[in-house]
Amino acid sequence: MDIKREKLYTDILIIGGGTAGCYAAITIGEKSDKKVMIAEKANIKRSGCLAAGVNALNAYIVKGKTPEDYLEYVKRDANGIIREDLVLTMSERLNGVTRHLEKLGLVILKDEKGDYVTRGDRNIKINGENIKPILAAGVYKHDNIQVLNKVNIVDYIIKDNRVLGAYGFSIENNIFYVIYARGVICATGGAAGIYKPNNPGFSRHKMWYPPFNTGAGYAMGIREGAEMTTFEMRFIALRCKDTIAPTGTIAQGVSAPQINCAGETYDRNYGAPTTANRVYSTVEENRRGRGPCFLRTKGIGKRAEEELLKAYLNMAPAQTLKWLERGAGPSEENVEIEGTEPYIVGGHTGSGYWVDTNRQTTIKGLYAAGDVAGGCPQKYVTGSLAEGEIAAEAVMKYIAAVLQQEVLCEEEENKFREITGYLKNPSGIYTVGQLEEAMQKIMDEYAGGISGSYGYNEVKLAVGKNRIREILKLAYKLHGEDFYDLMKIYELIDRLVVAEAVIAHLEARKETRWHSFQENLDYPGLNDKDYFLYINSVFKDGEIRIIKRPLVDRRQTYEHQN
C-alpha cells in the first residue's frame, strides 16, 4: 500500500468537530486571527450527537431563574457529586451561546413580546433539525479555520506532560498525519458501544448516543496518564422501546406520565425524581413483574399526535416511522419505554477529563470541552457550546505564552510504525466485529449491563476486568486492509481502554450513589461519610490507579497542583 505522510502546523488543533468542537473553532475565529485546525473523522456538517437534530435546548436560564438555580438542579440530580466551579461557569454562559446560535441561524420559538417560549423550567423550543449544518456553516465563515474531514486522530504528541499536537490518518486517502499545534482542544465526545446494546442484532447501532463516538478522547488521555473523573457515573437513558428515541418530548410535550402494565403511575415510588431514578423505577417495575412500562399517551388526540410525528422527524425519525409502520400513533397506543445500555458521556453525567476551571486537563496545553470533559453534568447542547467557548478563550491565552515544539523524528517514526503495524499484522481468526461483540457481552454480564438490571458486584467486576484485558491483547493482533479498517481497530481499542477504566471506577465507589447508573450490589446504600467525593483515576505503569479528591465548591477557581 502506498502511504503518504504529511506534517501540518497550526496554532490550535481541535480534535472532533461536533457541538463543542465547532463552537470552540467559531469562538476563536471570531476573536482572533490564530490558525485553527479541526480534525474530524467524519464530516462536520453532520458529525457528532446532533446529526439527526435535536428537539429542544434543554439548558437555558429562563426568566426568573439564575445560573445558581441551574447549578442546584444539576447538583440534586447528581446527588451532590459535581464540580460546582464547572457547572456555574457553564451556566453563566448558557443564554449567551443560545443568542449566538440564533444569530447563526437556529430557529427558536418566541412569543409576541419576542421572548423565547419555554418548555418547563430550563428548556426552550426550537427547530433543531439543521442545528449541525448551522454550526458547520458558522465554522466555514472563518478563513483562519481549516477543516480536515475524514481524518481520525488516534494519539496525542506529548513531551514532558505538555501536548504538542496529535497523530492521525485520513480514512479515505491513506495519509498519515503528524499535526503540531501550540494548544489542543479535545472535543471528541463520549463513548457508546461499550455495553451490549438494546438492539444487539441488525439494528445494533440504533442507540441513543452516536455509535461513532467511541471514547477516543478518553482513551487518548488515559494512555498518556491524564487524570479522569467519575467514570462510574454511567449514563442510561430512558427511551422509547426499539427506536431508542427520546421520551422527554412526549413526557413534557403532552404531559404523559410513566405507567406500568396495570396502568399505575410508579416513578414517585422510588425516591427523588432524578434522571437516574426515572430509569431505576422503570427497571424495578419490570424486575417486579409489573412491566412493560409505558408513557400514557392514549387519548392525547389527533392534533397532538400530528405534532409529535413532526417533532420526532426533527430529531429521531425512526420513532415517526415506527408509529406509521404500526398504523397506530401515540393517541391510540401508549408508548413503551425502556432503559438503554450504559454510556460514558460527560454532557449528561460527570464522566471525563479532570479539568481545571478553565477546562485545561492535567496535560499542559490540552483542554477538554463537551461530552469528553468531566465534572459538569447536564451540559446538553448549550452547555457543550459554553464549554467550547470557555476552552477556546483559555487556549488562546495559553498559546500566547508558548512556542511551537516538535518531538524527534525518531519518535514520529515509531508512532508511524505502531499505527501502520496493524496493516502488516497477518490476518487472524478474529475480526473487529467479533471482538466488539465479546467486549459488549462481558461488560453487559460482568459490569452492570441491561441483562443484570445494571447491577454488579466486585467478583463480577474482577472477572470482567480480566476478560477485557484478554480481548485487548487480541485487539492488538488485528489485521487491517486499509486505513478505514485501521479506524475500526482503533475504535475497538479505545472502547476497551475506556471499559477497563469504567470497571476500575465502578469498583472504587463502594456505595450506590446513583441507582442504575452505578448500582453496586455489594454496597446498596449511600455512604456520604466515605464517598461524598470524586473518584478519579490515572493510568500508570499498566495499571489504573484510583485517586479520591474532595469536592470543589462554586466559589473556588480550581487549578491543578502538579
Binding site: R46, G48, A51, K206, F212, P317, T320, K322, E325, M487
Partner: protein, 105 residues
C-alpha cells in the same frame, strides 16, 4: 434500521458519502454510484436522505425493531421538508415540516 440506495436513481454525486457520520457509504468502482457497505452500522440519522436530490435513498426499520417494510424518503423544497412514507401495501403519506418554524413540543 438502515437505508437502501436505489442504483437506478442514484446519480453518483457523492453528497451522501461526504456527510454520513459513520462513513458507511462507498462508491462503486465502475458506476461511481453509492452503496451502503455496512447497513447494520447505520445510526438512522437520515443525514444522507437530506443530501439526496434524487429520491434514491430510502429509510426503513429493521425487522428486529418492528419494521414491516414501510420506507421513507425526504425532499426539501423552499425551506420545507417533505417526508414521503410508503407502506408495503402502497399507501402513501406525506408529512411536511416548515423548517422556519419551531417544534410545538
Amino acid at each position: 434500521m438502515s437505508i437502501r440506495i436505489n442504483p437506478d436513481l442514484c446519480a453518483g454525486c457523492g453528497n451522501c458519502r461526504e456527510v454520513c457520520p459513520g462513513s458507511l457509504l462507498f462508491k462503486e468502482k465502475e458506476s461511481n454510484k453509492t452503496y451502503i457497505k455496512y447497513p447494520e452500522e447505520c445510526w438512522g440519522c437520515t443525514s444522507c436522505l437530506k443530501e439526496c436530490k434524487f429520491e434514491a435513498i430510502s429509510y426503513y426499520l429493521g425487522a428486529d425493531m418492528g419494521g414491516g417494510g414501510t420506507t421513507m424518503y425526504v425532499k426539501e423544497e423552499n425551506k420545507e421538508l417533505h417526508w414521503h412514507i410508503t407502506r408495503p401495501d402502497g399507501k402513501k403519506k406525506i408529512i411536511t415540516i416548515d423548517t422556519t418554524k419551531a417544534n410545538s413540543y
